[in-house]
Each structure stands twice: as C-alpha cells, then as structure tokens.
Amino acid sequence: MASKVYPSADAALAGVLRDGMVIMSGGFGLCGIADALITAIRESGVKGLTVISNNAGVDGAGLGVLLESKQIKKMISSYVGENKLFAQQYLAGALELEFNPQGTLAERIRAGGAGIPAFFTKTGIGTVIAEGKEVRDFDGEKYVMERGLFADLAIIHAWKADTEGNLVYRKTARNFNPMMATAAKLTVAEVEHLVPPGDIDPDHIITPGVFVQRIVHVKHPVKRIEQRTTRKRP
C-alpha cells in the first residue's frame, strides 16, 4: 500500500484542489487549525471555495488569508466576529455566508460523516434558523430538521499521528477536527508529531486511520493566541 505520509503541505494537496470545491477546515478560532495546509491552498490560487469552519480566522491569519486573496465564495460558520475583513466583504455582497448554531454545525458534520442525511434538533426553533425547514413534533416538543454535511476535502490538525493515520489531539485543539476527519471524500491531516504504528496506545486513539488519507508532518507549527489572558502570581 502506498504511504499516507507526504513530504510537504503542497505535496499533500497535489491533484486535489480545484475551483468551486467544498472544504472543511478544522479548528476553533486559531486553536487547532491546519495552518500549513491553509497556506498551501492560498499559494495554489484555487478560488470560488465554499469553506465549512466554525470561524473564519482573523485578519492576516488562519482562514483570514484566504479571505484576503478572495479565494472564498461562501462560508458556513457559527461565529465570525474576530474578522473585520469578513464583515467588510460580506456587507459589500462579495461573500456568501450561512450561519449555523455551533452545535448544529458540529452535528451536521458528525451526521454527514456517519452516513446520516438529516436529523432533528430543538436548537433554533422559533428563530430565523428554522425558517423554511421542516419542523416536527416529538413527544410534545418542536424540532427542526437539519441536513448532514459532507465536503470534497477536509483539512485538519492533530497533535500526534502514526503512519497509518491514527490521530491524537491535544487539549482544546481537538474541537471540530475529529468530526471533519470523517466528513469528506479526502481528509488531509497536518500533525505535529509522526510516529511508527504501535507507538500510540490503541486505547488513546481519537480518530482511527480509516478516516485519514494523507498526512503531512509539520514539526513546529505557528500557533497564535487570540486573547492572551493571564492572572497575577500570588
């Protein structure tokens, strides 16, 4: 079997990118994003992208760099408040936007990856989110139908992988990455540590290798902090 490990982010995306494709991008804010893969997408020049990601990066970092280069046509997100460029492009009509409640977004991705085309949730009942969607009564409560999401490509970040593609995440950098790994035709994982099979305790694996087709080892990724908050030492 051919190796899943690719020598660079460019190589890991070679032959995959095309205009108009749908990409899932892991991370919460700038925590747990596949930064090297986002940079490689920027350099490829591919455009007209639909990007599914909880946030849209900040000005100059994360998905913000793909907004800057106007490669994104549409975002499916829950919160984009950190990005001024986003607001400008959206209010100018240059960018489509679909807001999803964060839990609904997470579940749509989980469902899409698990072969579930739709599900019912009470989140959004009585709000604009439920408008135009099927609403059904279960046990005396109203629920709205939401569709599963599936993408052409998922770019995710993990802390450690083995060469089989089994993944472990670190702290809150896990967030959307495990679901997105399951919900695309092709999943590329950017990992900080790459080890031989057997080095990770099988009981500790979060994402089994079946969900990961390509791996790129990025030893010292850039990790930015959006809100550096500290307390005084006693």
């Binding site: 919460f28 989140t123 709000t127 809150t172 902090i225 500290t230 307390r231």
Partner: protein, 213 residues
C-alpha cells in the same frame, strides 16, 4: 445604588448549586467564576470542548492549545476532560448541563431572548448561544437594565431571536426577575438592588411584570 458588574456576577453566583455543571458566557457571566461559594464544587464547561475549566494561567504559562470559548488562554484542573465539539454540544443539547449564564441585548416577558444579531449592523454569528438556550436546564441572563436609556426588558423582542421562551431568570443592575417560560404567569420581580425603588424599575422596564415575594 444599582449593582455594579461585579455585584451582578455575585448575585448570579447565588444560582449555583453544589455539583452543578455550568456554562458561562462572555462578559459579566465570566466574572461569576470569581464568586463560587467556598466549599461548593462546580464544574465549568467551555463549549469548544472542555469540562473542568481552571483559572487564567500565570504570565509565561499560556498554552495556545488551551483556550475557552472566548478564545482566552486558560488552565486545566485535576478534574478536566477534553472532547470534540460534537460531544460538547451533545452535553449541551442533551440536557446534561445544569445552568447557562449569558448576556443579552433584549429579553421579552415570555422568555424570548435576542443576543446575536442586529440586522444590517452586526455580522458576528450566534456561536453556541442558540444551542445553550435550547438545551441547558436553567438559563439565567445577566445584563444592564437599559441600553442608552432604552429598556432591554420588552413585551416582545424586535431583534432576531436566539431562542423562543428560553429564559428562566434575568439579573440586571436594578433587580432580579423570574420568568415562567413554560407556563402562563409571565414575569415577576423577585428582588431589587439596594436603594432601587419599584417605581424606578417600572419606568425603565417595557415588559409587564408582577411583584413576587
């Protein structure tokens, strides 16, 4: 004297109970963690995938992989667990979280909440707020009583809703209201800030409410 932000947070902390799992929103709700009564154990949930949230780190010990839902650096505790966003919202939507304390732009007397959008002006998104108010057992709003002298406690919200009939309690700088969100008895004033009169709060409130002892 109306309550300060800190006093509002302290009042909200009175809604905590030993053993509660709690989600705190951004702003005044975050301050509630400073007023957890000693001897009481409360686990704080952060919807980006953490239960058992610790305090802010000491300078030099910030970890970019360890943030809360407001993207602030935080720390872990011996009780901490990490999980995916799907598991996080299974906790929230599935009714496993006891209390959600969050801010608001408007609350209506029937428990409707608006806190995510001003059409044509603010393009930020709802984040996890719609899931929290739909799924958490008790929802407490902490907010200023008025915005630029305009009431925020209304008969009906005129901003897009975050949830319909979801708020159980509102704590403002002037007092505390209980809302019967499932029943029909509406909104009741249950507490006044020290020195605030019933007449003052009535003038500054558009929603109709009754007095409850």
């Amino acid at each position: 004297m109306p309550w300060t932000r800190e006093q509002m947070a302290a009042r909200a902390a009175q809604e905590l109970r030993d053993g509660f799992y709690v989600n705190l929103g951004i702003g005044i709700p975050t301050l509630v963690s400073n007023y957890i009564p000693s001897g009481m154990t409360v686990q704080l949930q952060s919807e980006n995938g953490m239960l058992g949230m610790g305090p802010f780190p000491y300078e030099g010990e910030e970890d970019p992989d360890l943030i809360n839902a407001g993207k602030q650096t935080i720390t872990e505790l011996p009780t901490t667990s990490y999980f995916s966003s799907a598991d996080s919202f299974a906790m929230i939507r599935g009714g496993h979280i006891d209390l959600s304390i969050l801010g608001a732009m408007q609350v209506a007397e029937n428990g409707d909440l608006a806190n995510w959008m001003i059409p044509g002006k603010m393009v930020k998104g709802m984040g996890g707020a719609m899931d929290l108010v739909a799924g958490v057992k008790k929802v407490v709003v902490v907010m200023e009583h008025t915005a630029k002298d305009e009431p925020k406690l209304l008969k009906r919200c005129n901003l897009p809703l975050t949830g319909a009939g979801v708020v159980d309690m509102v704590i403002t700088d002037l007092g505390v209201f209980a809302i019967d969100k499932k029943g029909h008895s509406g909104m009741a004033l249950i507490e006044l800030a020290p020195g605030v009169t019933f007449d003052e709060i009535r003038v500054k409130t558009e929603a109709s409410f009754r007095l409850k002892n």
